[in-house]
Amino acid sequence: MKDKTTKLKIFLLIFTVIPFGSGCNSNQNQLGQDHNDLSISQVHTSKPIDQSVANHTKEKIITKDGISDVKAVNTDKDLLVGIKVDNFDRFQLKNIKKKVQSDIEKMYPDHQVTVSTDQKMYWELDKLEQRLQKDSTNMKNLKKDINKIKSLMKEQT
């Protein structure tokens, strides 16, 4: 009696867990495809805010080991890069970030470069990119958003 209920509980648990596992797997496949096609999001480079710096950065960074996706946004002064690292490469997260940072700084010495592996950075930049793509922002708002993200990233704990 008691044994049966505990067994049932275990089964229930396993069944709740399996979807998580498989969900993760499908996710991974998608990311893998992203990587293969290098289908990073490209944002148009015309006016009002030229994103060619960001686009170029993304093309360069995505080819590096361990990086599965990149988002980037730039203004005339700032360059924000959010990188996504998956699986066991995450153990090297700090080193990867440092390397990317120094590489980009070499590429664009005139920009103030902020690189982060933070989820928040990635998601916020994703939103910004989409807004830029739709032209639903202007230089002033963009700068405001970027400053906000930068201050968030500075916060510790």
Binding site: G21, F88, R90, Q92, L93, K94, T157
Partner: protein, 116 residues
């Protein structure tokens, strides 16, 4: 993917705790105190941060992260204020967990009665 690793790593840390319960017959108090000290040592040698990067909540939710956070707070202050900073900085990072537990403990005692 982070969800998967959070589950696995968090689960494995709990398995270590269960082995301490069942095989070494330690009380929960002994087990949890040991895990906290282990977390602090792991952070001291710089291994806990990469684990958090890897497993996310799988490393921050188990009590081991408490030791990690205590060392972290102490080190942060120590970098700024030297040795005195160790004393003042210990609770810097962990204060949220402890104060949440105290506040909810007090609230709980106002609302609930033990059910038995």
């Amino acid at each position: 993917m982070i969800y998967f690793w959070a589950f696995v790593v968090g689960g494995l840390i709990c398995v270590i705790g269960q082995i301490m319960f069942d095989v070494f017959k330690l009380t929960p108090g002994h087990t949890l105190s040991t895990l906290v000290v282990v977390g602090a040592i792991l952070d001291g040698v710089g291994l806990y941060e990469p684990l958090i990067d890897f497993a996310g909540a799988g490393a921050t939710v188990p009590i081991t992260s408490f030791g990690n956070a205590l060392v972290h707070g102490a080190m942060q202050e120590a970098e700024q204020h030297g040795l005195v900073g160790i004393l003042t900085g210990v609770f810097e990072v962990t204060s949220a967990g402890i104060s949440a537990a105290i506040i909810f403990g007090m609230l709980g005692s106002l609302i609930f009665k033990p059910k038995g």
